[in-house]
């Protein structure tokens, strides 16, 4: 066997990193940040504690990475053509992707809500977050303006609150929540 090339090493590192992040996400979301020990994460990822520290500096580093990755992921679905302007079709697309994500990646969403309610954790990400939220509220505000709203800012805010509340309720009782119905009603309300 020839020695591994640098590129191969790089790939192994990337894979490992992902495995660790997934293991951590699952535990953080299901058991909470404080109740999840580094030991458990390492065990869940199938590696040793020591090795974990080879990939992430600290427990904080881990959760920061998870959250930033997740937020970056989210933005893909908002304003996909990146022209800074939302059309009805784009909003519909966003809602559909949003609900798809809610269903398929419950861990991240649990974490998302967990995180914002954990003051200590929130502090780690609030700057980046504030920027994002502001950007999207502006975009929504414009959207409502161009659809004839008299108070577009409040409308944007309601829209955001509704999405948060829905996510929240879905997380609290995912079994009984009628995701599909709710999605359709939202699209009816905001994209027709």
């Amino acid at each position: 066997m020839s020695p591994r090339t640098e590129k191969q090493f790089e790939e192994i590192r990337e894979t490992r990193k992902k495995e660790i992040l997934e293991a951590a996400l699952e535990l953080f979301a299901n058991e909470g940040f404080y109740a999840t020990s580094i030991s458990k994460i390492a065990a869940n990822a199938g590696i040793s504690k020591g090795l974990l520290y080879n990939y992430f500096e600290s427990k904080e580093d881990l959760i920061k990475t998870i959250i930033f990755n997740g937020l970056d992921n989210l933005t893909r679905f908002v304003d996909p053509n990146k022209d800074g302007f939302l059309t009805k079709k784009e909003l519909k697309y966003f809602l559909e992707e949003m609900f798809k994500a809610l269903k398929n990646e419950p861990y991240f969403w649990k974490l998302y809500f967990t995180v914002f309610m954990q003051p200590q954790v929130l502090k780690l990400v609030e700057k980046k977050l504030a920027v994002m939220v502001h950007k999207y509220l502006m975009m929504l505000s414009e959207y409502f303006t161009s659809n004839g709203s008299k108070d577009p800012e409040t409308d944007a805010l309601f829209f955001g609150a509704l999405l948060d509340g829905i996510g929240f309720q879905f997380m609290v009782d995912p079994e009984r929540f009628p995701l599909e119905k709710v999605k359709n009603k939202l699209i009816d309300m905001y994209c027709k």
Copy 2:
């Protein structure tokens, strides 16, 4: 020097208990349940750690008491005449009281959201909570039915989600959130 009377002891205990609960609520809400140590609570209440255990059996007992007190407090404003039926006037009253509470007791609301997202903490209260939530969703469902809704259950759910989302957003950025405007819009939407 005669010893204290039973009534005096009772008063001391009442006062102290309140002081401890307030100190704990403030810290739990601002720093999170796990990040708040018993030491901090005791210091914040101006007493020794040992004394705290004279009043509450454990950290769990503390948070349980806080949450149950808060939930009991909430119910006072829903269906005030306790006939199991909501009128428009009653819903308006509830919304007004709710927003008042949101403004005046920010600590409890922060805690409320924290709690539902902390799996370990949620477990402590979920039974009592499930009963409450069910009861109010039923009531709302009836309300929407008698106001001509075609899908009262989803409407009830939306209403609940909206309230949660509003509370959530207010907690994240209380300074900039236009509470008054939002309240009025809600009353317009649901109680006219």
Copy 3:
């Protein structure tokens, strides 16, 4: 009502003291010295913690008093005429009283064994104890000598060990231990 006389006060004090000692003995014997808190003793005696400290200086003081009282009590049955010499009849009397005590005052006997095996507690009483044990071993030694033993010291020691072992086993499983049979066999062996 006329004010209580000094003598009456003294009587009340004595009664209280006894009540406390009994409450403490019961708990020490059944739950162990360390597992018994001052609070429990006070509660079991029906008084407040504070008052207990009015009668006994400390937890150590309490156990010391209990043990010394108990040991003093024991000596009543050995060599009742106090001539420093044991007759067969006296030994028989002692054995009979001993077994009676074992049956009627199980708390003290439990404590007796507990105590000697608790190094920290033993230290409190070992001086007084050593003197007593020595005295009785000498007496027994003489007894065996005058009954024709070739090795009276070892015989005395065996006798003592047998009594200790019997007490020990009775304490471990009082329900099934055949006290009566064992007593008779002992009297047969040593007093005939």
Copy 4:
């Protein structure tokens, strides 16, 4: 630097575990279970408190392990050919080994007596113990039967009590106790 092999880890663990058990045994026996803190044990073993918990789950786990190890050790000397039947030679062998152990492992014997007198500690081991005691009493009972006893059960009980009493007295004053003499007398009495 290659990492340690699994075998190396295994060896480290074995050694450490033994060191901790020895350190704990010494302290439990000399100062009692409750008076011995985990800190003291760790210090006596030359390690940190934290590491101790890497090897034993709790203080209870520690004492349980010590006692069970000790009891298992004991049984090696009873009925060595494991045919469920005691011969005179076997009983003699047991007594000799027992006295050897009493002399060489005073800590364990101190602990043995301590344990049975500590209600809280006894609870941890009483099940396993009851089985053992019953088994050996049966065996002894048979032994006395086949040696012509009229009341083999009481004889077995006396034998057991005598051994316990001897151990007890030796523990209380090991310096002056004539172990050798006592052993010989026992062998004379029971194995000739």
